[in-house]
């Protein structure tokens, strides 16, 4: 070691330590439900992703189930994403596109609940928090395989 850099504590790194693992590690306190999610989505997301998340200048966030093996696959949160936790992680860090990292934890839980419900993955009454979100099983959870290269094209 060259004795460079300053020791860093958990408290200091907290504002940057926003990653969420598939097992839920990193999820904050707070909660949100589908109805609140619908409300936030309409005001902060629909302009880019469409009123129902069907896609506009931003990606489609719903639909596409059963299309992955077709010649017109539609990859969405519902049809393609293996983990629900990725939704929380990504919305918190990167959305809304024009103001990332501006949403509260409650809002992000609510938006996750709303989008999962729109995709028919959770029922309308769902409330998500750090315990329930990682338990959501995504339809394409087992749809991924490891890289077969080198060896097979």
């Amino acid at each position: 070691s060259h004795h460079l850099g300053t020791p860093l504590t958990e408290e200091q790194i907290a504002p940057w330590d926003i990653d969420v693992g598939p097992d839920g590690r990193g999820l904050p306190a707070g909660s949100g439900d589908v109805a609140m999610g619908a409300h936030v989505f309409a005001s902060k997301c629909a302009a880019c992703h469409g009123a129902a998340g069907q896609g506009l200048i931003g990606d489609a966030l719903v639909g596409g189930r059963g299309t992955l093996a077709s010649n017109k696959p539609k990859r969405t949160v519902g049809s393609y994403w293996p983990y629900a936790t990725t939704l929380f992680d990504y919305i918190r860090r990167a959305m809304p596109f024009n103001a990332p990292q501006s949403l509260s934890a409650d809002e992000v839980y609510a938006l996750s609940a709303y989008l999962l419900n729109q995709n028919g993955i959770v029922p309308p009454g769902t409330i998500l928090d750090k315990d329930s979100l990682p338990k959501v099983i995504m339809p394409n959870r087992d749809g991924f395989v490891p890289d077969s290269r080198p060896g097979k094209l």
Binding site: H2, L4, P22, W81, A94, G143
Partner: protein, 397 residues
Amino acid sequence: MGIGAFAAAQASAAELLAPLKVEPWSTTPGAPILEHPYGVPSLFEKGVVRRAAKAWPLPGAASSMTPLADLFGSITPNGLVYERHHAGVPDIDPAQHRLAVHGLVSAPKLFTMDDILRLPSESRIHFIECSGNTGGEWNGPSGMPVQLTHGLLSCCEWTGVRLSTLLDEVNGAVGKARWILAEGSDAAAMTRSLPLDRIIDRAMIVYAQNGERLRPENGYPLRLIVPGFEGNTHVKWLRRLKLVDAPLETREETSKYTNLLADGTARKFVFEMDAKSVITRPSPGHKLTTHGYYPISGLAWSGRGTIRRVEVSTDGGASWRNARMETSPRERALTRFEADWQWNGGPAAILSRATDSTGYVQPTREALVSARGLNSQYHYNAIQQWRVDANGDVRNA
């Protein structure tokens, strides 16, 4: 001059047979030193710029491409290195920038740019290719010129600190540390999980490219370089490295940068860019002016080692011959190849095929499609053909 080194209006015979003129630039002094304290290209080269393949709805989440048809050698000048951003190019004050290294390490630390510059450094020439490069050819010839088919590709000398050196500074990894999460400080907070043992020997945290500090669009002031891996993993504007036991399954390694196969399953964590090559001159937009000798010039590269051989065909793949290496083949770097060709004025189909130091041979499109189907998006590295018409036009067909 922009696309068309070969397309430049040919001087007329009369002009070539007249006495030479003393040109005005020989009889009038030129511009003073420091007209441009930081230099710029000739006005006659104003067509040599990055371009986008389409009008992006949100140009902050978009890409622009390197003008390969107008370039030479193996280095990409910094001003022409391709761009791929997910939330635009931040203007980062290097005095405010920090890199945090934490998670499963003995002594988590925060580094200023001054700290990073004080660590032992290394400079290496490596290509970066977006795994989406050439994705437009999955369904057959797109008709596009090489800037728009292969231009998500650049090669620079990168200077910075080895990942292993930085990990020493935090007294090493502890516990079940098997992966490393790299995060940018841009407005996308771009995040990728990377397998530690596969990158530890060569990943670098870099602050300079081609001799000077990184350009803003290439990650200023700090970026991760993972030689040979797909471009998106070379996280720009790097603010955080976290050692973890398992991948985080971020959006950029699940929703995107996964490769959907014909059966509906998708490959995940598809990192290395396999061997690939492309002819850049002549290429679509160039025009052959007279019959006779033409060098066929192009680029070859492999994310798994060095380029061992490049073959060229001018008859649509019926016969092949070895090209010369025009630059020294370097590990995980662009190599310029060149092959001799006499154009007799007939139609021709020119192709190149790379073999790397692992023995891997660049596949045909047919082989790729039969292994992966048509929905795979990323990692398209098939042999590329350009057609030369009898009138000298070169087309992607």
